[in-house]
Point group: C2
Chain length 274, copies 2
């Protein structure tokens, strides 16, 4: 079955998809919108989208798009750890004078590079793949910062592994598709809601319901609502499945206390990053 | 006085800075980290950084960096509306067959372009400025999607204004600098905190304090803490100044009930977007 992802091949969406769902066939799309449209018109069975901490585009627009979905729900979540490595033609850093990569990748390795290779010059490139291609052409004075996939794909050797400054640099993706997932016993439910009027304490009253039932939240985020400034939408992920007690009753209360309640689906928790 | 921003000239950080603080001298930096370092070593007086909904890099890494700051606090907030326009050499769309821009800009205008110019081909470029440059060279069959600054800067004419699908496409920036801002009567305070142990209801107990005092929150966001998986940091903005009642007492209670409390500063609320 086909799964849309934000291309090109080798993007983090691609890598997360290949690692988490090797059975799905990756289909490169040029935008998040294209993935969502192809899901809705059934030309794709699945789509993978970043929902937290992505370096490949504004996650907030993905979250806003989820509000408009019909019949499409979250099937799985994937926590993917972003890892950067140094590659060149020799597999050694001794001759390297220039390190090339996408500005965000260089930024994420800045501390490491400055500490270990203070004399190298950093050069920006359009993509990490483009950086590898250039390092391949330029020879032993150049190294590229890229994922294992991009380095290997461009025929380079690893000169240094895991050079990212933040060892917990993760992006959370969701796999979208049709049909509700059955309870597994360790699930999570993802919802959003807005209030008729934003008053001090509106959110507090909602959280009180979860606290009273001793239900853990794993994410909370407020976003200005698209159409009405000064109004907010709250995105919450909590432990439990919408078909298992006490969640159905809680959702019923939320529906009464909010202006609109969106349920994005219940799905197995990804406790550990990949 | 100099203010660091994420370059190149013409980036949204640059545009927001020029519009909100024309008295400051913009200094292009190559990364968020560079801005923060130059602030800390006093080679810059100010720095402007996106903290919400940015298309120019992961905002989460900015938020994480704020946790490490010493002496540097938020001076102002700026809500900047992202606006896209169509530019070409003629100022008319009648001959246009190709529309060029950065993928994220094209994505944000996708609905408009498909509805009004269903036959144009969309072409990705490295930046919106690069797209303008290409449109300038290629002539009347090409148009570029870009900001007013980039279009004008490349000698192009406006063919169509405000083509972004989401009219409320905003990025929130903060201006960082030294020294606490005095109360103005309509201020906001930005904080973050973590708990010793994440338990159901921990956050709820904190929000109860704000609700009891009828203090409005304008933002809430949870993020996995960098070092310890499964632990969270909560970022909250609320109405009021840390030197005005009842905020000092509330912060005192928060300090007792949390593992660590970070105060990023009190600053005038930006009620309306620019």
């Amino acid at each position: 079955m086909e799964c849309g992802y934000l291309g090109p091949e080798g993007s983090y969406s691609y890598l997360a998809l290949k690692e988490a769902f090797p059975e799905l066939e990756p289909v490169a799309c040029s935008s998040f919108m294209e993935i969502l449209e192809k899901l809705e018109n059934k030309s794709l069975a699945y789509g993978i989208l970043p929902v937290e901490n992505s370096t490949e585009g504004a996650v907030t627009s993905v979250m806003d798009s989820l509000l408009d979905l019909k019949e499409i729900v979250i099937q799985e979540e994937i926590t993917y750890r972003i890892r950067h490595h140094l590659f060149n033609t020799t597999g050694q850093m001794s001759e390297v004078e220039y390190v090339i990569s996408h500005p965000q990748a260089l930024e994420q390795c800045r501390g490491f590079l400055r500490k270990n290779y203070p004399h190298v010059k950093l050069i920006n490139s359009e993509s990490t793949s483009g950086a590898c291609h250039k390092a391949q052409q330029k020879g032993s004075k150049y190294a590229a910062v890229a994922s294992m996939w991009a380095g290997k794909h461009n025929g380079l050797k690893v000169a240094c592994q895991d050079i990212q400054d933040n060892r917990f640099n993760q992006t959370r993706f969701v796999l979208l598709g049709r049909g509700e997932k059955q309870p597994t016993g360790t699930d999570k439910t993802s919802i959003a809601f807005s209030f008729q009027h934003d008053q001090p304490g509106s959110l507090y009253k909602i959280l009180k319901i979860f606290a009273d039932y001793e239900i853990n939240l794993s994410r909370i985020e407020s976003r200005p609502a698209k159409q009405e400034l000064g109004q907010y939408i709250f995105f919450i992920d909590f432990y439990g499945h919408q078909e298992e007690e006490p969640i159905p009753g809680i959702l019923e209360v939320l529906r009464e206390k909010t202006r609109k309640l969106y349920i994005f689906g219940s799905f197995p928790r990804s406790e550990k990053p990949l």
